[in-house]
Each structure stands twice: as structure tokens, then as C-alpha cells.
Amino acid sequence: MSNSTVMDSKTAWGGNNVSPYGAGYGKLMMWFFLISDALTFTGFLSAYGFYRHYYSSIWPSAENVFTHFPFMHGNHPLLYVALMTFILIMSSVTMVLAVEAGHRMDKKGVTLWLGLTLIGGAIFLGSQAWEWYHFIHGTELGAIELGKGYFTLPDGTVESTKGIIARWTDDSKQVLLLPWREIAGDVTSPYIQLSGQALTDALATGKEIHGANLTHNEYGHPLFGDFFFFITGFHGTHVFSGVVINFIVFVNVIMGTYQKRGHYEMVEKVGLYWHFVDLVWVFVFTFFYLV
């Protein structure tokens, strides 16, 4: 019995009140959770990268897909997603300011900045819903998903057309453009044009599609839609749960729970989660919209 140790359950680590990490248990565990979550997103984004290059010639370019901007007509590539990125960065700033106010035991400051973070998160979620709506509904012109058939490439090889997305050159619907698969990796890959009899044949076996779902995609390969829904959807789920958790902590802040407790470590912990959500978006923004 002489070498038994009495552990104080109130301290996080035992060991004489000394932590090898100089941080609370909850904070460290939040970090561990974030590592595993980050690896999930790493898996998604590397799978996306692989298929994006594998089907590069029929992969849609995001700047041709997400061109809408609320209350504005015409073509505005990247503008809307840039705004969404700005909103999320801004909400990260308000979150870190809430953490800073917590270090000064400034209850009013924490309430203000955490409240603004909540608003930023809600705006971001709304923006995402808006973008999904436009992607799902697509354009009025639509595209033709080709059925069984073949076309000859300029180098003499024959390609199957099944599942290839052909786009109209313009509203007159006289000429269809087919991406030429062999020039993979080159964003300026040439197109094959279908008109006259070839166009009639293509329309007979093809299917008109508008927008995107899990099996069809007006803008190009269906996997683009799958990855878009899955990755931005998984990220959006994180934003949503982040907003919910922030809201619970926000209510606690107002009720004075942390003021009584003597520290605002809980704000710091949810802050870490919130910054992580922003961090993931930084990568989604680059690999989905820019590259």
C-alpha cells in the first residue's frame, strides 16, 4: 500500500497538477478529434483530385458551373464563392475575438463576438443552400447525355459516346460539342462538333438533362456532382453542427455559466472546431473551385 497514489479527480491529468501539454483535457481531445476529421476530408479531397485528373477532359470547370450571383444577371465566375469564403473568414475572426474576450473575462465582449459568429455561420449555410439550388436546377438550355454510339477522333481512334455530356454551342441548338478525351490534363482540350445527320443520330439515342443529381450532371462527368454534393455537403454538416454548438455555448455565456466557472475555456474549445470548419473550406475552395 505504500506506493499507492491518491488521484485528484478534479485535475485533468493527475500527475501533481502538471500537464505535459500545458493544456486542458477537453482542449487536447478536441484537437485529436480535429485530426481524425481532417484526415476524413484529406481522403475526400485526394479521391476528388484523383478522379478530377483521371477524367480531366470531361471534367467540368467550376468557373463554368457556378456563375450565378444573387440579384445580378449574367456570368460571374468565382464571385459568389469568393463572397462565401470572405464570410467564413470573417466569422473566424469574430470567433477568435470572442476567445480573446474570454481571456479577459469580458462577458459582454464574448456575447457580442460569439453572436456575430453565429450570424456569419447562418449566412454561410444560406449561401450554400442557394448554390446547391442553382447546381441542382442547372441551365435552361441544358445538355445532351449521349447514348450508345461512336465517333472518330482526329487521330483516327474511335471513342464510345455512351455517357458523354455534349453541350450546345448556343441557344439555336444547331451544333453539339463533344469533349475529346485523349487530351487529358489540358484545360484547352479541343472539341468534336456534331451537326446535321450526326446531330440527329446523337439526339435520337441521347437524353436531355438539366442541372445535376447523383447520377446525371449537365456540366460534365457525374462524379463531379457526386463529389460536389458529398464534400460540400459534409462540410456544410460541419458548419451546421458548429452553429448549433456555438448557439448552445452562446446561451451559456448569456446565462453566466462560464463567468461563474471562472474561465471561458469552453468558448476556446468550440472556437477550435469553428476554425477547423474554416480551415476545411480553405482547401475545398482551392481544390473544388480554383484548381
Binding site: Y21, A23, L78, E100, L272, D278, L279, L290
Partner: protein
């Protein structure tokens, strides 16, 4: 390294580090500086994405620029907003090393096992 709680002298465990009004001012200055850095990087990214075709740089160079800028942005968020820069050394290593190792491992497998995709496509269609 020069930080006061280096890993040689473990400090008594505290839940949350409180700081004074004066220190708070300094912290807030860093926060806003980082905001401008993040905003500037994002603006450069979007502008480059819109104009790269008109200024005659190769797509490969643009892509590499995007990736480098993204990693820079990630560094600033993790180091300053998530405060990892000012944690003790053991803490930093516990977070960064496993993540980087597993991320590289994932990428390695995607690159090496990806050769089977072509084969799979032929079986499927």
C-alpha cells in the same frame, strides 16, 4: 522555442490563461493583422483564377501557386487563430506529426493504387 513554458519546465496546469487589458490589445492586433493577410491571399487567388488566361502563365504554374497560397493560409489559421504556434512543443508535435504522416500515406496510396482504375473501368463498361 523562446516561449516561457518550454517543455523542460512543466508549469502547473491551468484551465484557461487569463490576460490583462494591455495584453489583450496586442492579441487583438495580431488577430486583425492575420485577417488582412487571409483576405489578401484570398483576393490574390480569386484574381489569379479570373485573369490567368489573359496574362500568359501556364496552368501548371497557376495550380502550384494556388496550392502554395492555400498551405500558407492554412498555416496562418492553425498557427494564430487556433493558437497552435504558442502551445508547448510536445503538443504541436502530437497534432502535426500524425496528421502529416497519414495525409502523405493517403496520397501515396491514391497515386500507386490509382493504376487499377483503368482496369476497373474496362470491367464495368
Amino acid at each position: 522555442m523562446e516561449h516561457s513554458h518550454d517543455h523542460h519546465t512543466p508549469e502547473p496546469y491551468k484551465y484557461a490563461v487569463h490576460h490583462s487589458e494591455e495584453e489583450g490589445k496586442k492579441v487583438r492586433r495580431v488577430i486583425w493583422n492575420m485577417f488582412w493577410v487571409l483576405l489578401a491571399i484570398t483576393t490574390v487567388e480569386v484574381t489569379l483564377g479570373l485573369i490567368w488566361k489573359n496574362i500568359g502563365i501556364s496552368w501548371g504554374a497557376v495550380k502550384m501557386t494556388f496550392i502554395i497560397l492555400t498551405i500558407a493560409k492554412a498555416y496562418y489559421i492553425v498557427a494564430y487563430y487556433m493558437h497552435l504556434k504558442h502551445e508547448v512543443k510536445a503538443f504541436k508535435n502530437t497534432i502535426i506529426v500524425p496528421f502529416v504522416l497519414f495525409a502523405l500515406y493517403l496520397l501515396y496510396h491514391i497515386i500507386t493504387e490509382g493504376v487499377y482504375s483503368e482496369m476497373m473501368e474496362k470491367w464495368l463498361y
